[in-house]
Amino acid sequence: MRIIVLAKQVPDTRNVGANAMNPNGTINRAALPTVFNPEDLKALEMALRVKNQMPNTTVTVITMGPPRAEEIIRDARNRGADDGFVLSDARFAGSDTLATSYALAQAIRSAGDFDLVFCGRQAIDGDTAQVGPQIAEKLGLPQITYAEALESVSEQEIVIRRRLEQGVETVCAALPVLVTVTSAAPDCRYPHAHRLLRFAKTPVEVRNADDVQPDFARLGLAGSPTKVKKVDNVVLAHKDNVHLEPTEDNLNEMMKNLINEHII
């Protein structure tokens, strides 16, 4: 069996500084520390669980980004992936989700036959959850979104439990299928020391746009229907507010007023 895992190196939005945005409204990625997108790590784990159950399974990780995104491939290999490549080209710059999904769909096509595609539900730098279903459409695959657990898998089909707002749903799909994995899924296993040593000197393949034979009009800014019109810094409307020192008298007075005003 052949499994593709899509992973993204993302700015760590939990540690955002003041220079995080370029003046044109795009993300200043150079100014931010990066991490393996958390839900993509969970997607990798789900793929590795399939590999554990199915003999002769290969897990290939694909990431799109700047050359330094090779760290993602290295990390994934150390955790159990077999191989992978970085899709990197200045001609992808400015891609919205539609152009990104097109580039990634072409990259998957360039990687040969496959049975399963796993990716995170969404990346923490955009939270759109669009790229997975868009790739499924482009590859003509059914999609299973919001996956939280692998129930069973065979050469023919996969059974997945989905996490919805108010409960769970278990579905069965014939392969091939694309699965997007949510944060409720199990955490990824740690890198193995012996794999770290084994792969330390193995280079990471980088493919460019030409390698995936795209229609160039569908890449980058030109292939992106959405445009950022403007970006506003949020200035919250200032209210005339009352500052209270947290003394017992003040707090007591405040609660008394809230009761008298029938607010509580």
Binding site: A129, Q143, L164, G167, V234, K239, L251
Partner: protein, 340 residues
């Protein structure tokens, strides 16, 4: 065509979901501005009669398919029919809920139609846009505002060249308002014969366990909300004690939920619920735009924070600089004293 189309979702009770009625309310405003019609698509089983509910919200035309293979929701059967309606009707704008259903369906449609899709919009308006490079001006297009990246900015996104312009909106962000109890719309039935056979086979549902929603903070008139600054799950219990005392509900920021302090159903903000209580007590909340977007319309806002410069203080009516963990128990005591 200047039409606005809403993809309607059904609740577990097979009613039109609140999110879809909220989208119809917004869609009605947009369609009126564009001098177009408001269209709605309802796909399900035993949905006869639901169109009448939609007319109340100003829907001009309901497209409805009734087939047992359409319920519960599955991607491909719905995609098959919805994509065909959109291709045939050429709406200018299509709106989806930012729910597990809307977020599953809308990107697949956007990919198929090769059009733009903006996730989790908090404001939708009709306006104009001039491209900075080509100087071309586009009139009457959809301006889609969403808080983005890190929380201190709001991006306005446009898709000037492609149609339809598509957006998702979280539940509770837009208001739900009946337009006119006598509004006259029309119903167009969608035939399903033979069209779902292939889509039906791809994915089958083995089991479903959907609970009635046990926590719903949206209707609460008093909300005591906590942020990451509360420090622990134990400290969050103090908020429950205060909320119980004064008859409120407990809400939380995404950071507090990510830290495991409380249930995700309590999340307030762009990726949670939007609330408009009479009283909002923010405890240890700094006030990132993703959070304030979901509570800024509250009647009275009290902020308790150790940081006098916390952004939330600028929208608060009363700011108390101090440790919420110490102050909340005092508030409970003060409340009890004043009741005597």
């Amino acid at each position: 065509m200047n039409n606005v189309l809403v993809y309607c979702e059904l609740s577990e009770q097979n009613r039109i979901a609140d999110i879809s009625l909220e989208l119809c309310t917004k869609g009605r405003q947009l369609a009126t501005q564009l001098q177009g019609r408001l269209q709605a698509v309802v796909l399900g089983h035993k949905v006869e009669g639901l169109e009448k509910q939609l007319y109340l919200y100003g829907v001009d035309e309901v497209f409805m398919a009734d087939d047992e293979r359409l319920a519960p929701y599955r991607t491909l059967p719905h995609f098959e029919l919805l994509s065909a309606v959109i291709k045939e009707q050429h709406p200018d704008i299509v709106l989806f809920g930012a729910t597990s259903v809307g977020r599953d369906m809308s990107p697949r449609i956007a990919s198929y139609l090769r059009c733009g899709l903006t996730a989790d919009c908090t404001t939708l308006e009709i306006g104009s846009h001039t491209d900075a490079k080509t100087k071309q001006t586009y009139e009457n297009i959809l301006l889609q505002m969403r808080p983005a990246f890190g929380g201190n900015i709001v991006a306005t996104i446009v898709s000037p060249e492609t149609r339809p312009q598509m957006a998702t909106v979280r539940e509770g962000v837009m208001k739900k308002e009946v337009l006119d109890a006598t509004y006259k719309g029309s119903l167009t039935r969608i035939a399903t014969d033979g069209r779902l056979d292939k889509a039906d086979k791809a994915v089958r549902i083995i089991s479903r366990e959907i609970k009635e929603q046990s926590i719903n903070i949206k209707p609460a008139s008093i909300i005591v909300a906590g942020g990451y600054g509360m420090g622990s799950k134990e400290n969050f219990q103090l908020l429950h004690q205060l909320a119980d005392a004064i008859g409120g509900e407990v809400g939380a920021t995404r950071a507090a939920i990510d830290a495991g302090f409380t249930e995700s159903e309590r999340q307030i903000g762009q990726t949670g619920v939007t609330v408009r209580p009479k009283l909002y007590i923010a405890c240890g909340i700094s006030g990132a735009i993703q959070h304030t977007a979901g509570m800024e319309e509250s009647g009275k806002i009290i902020s308790i924070n150790t940081d006098p410069n916390a952004p939330i203080n600028s929208i608060a009516d009363i700011t108390i600089v101090g440790d919420a963990v110490a102050i909340v128990p005092q508030l409970i005591a003060c409340y009890n004293n004043n009741l005597k």
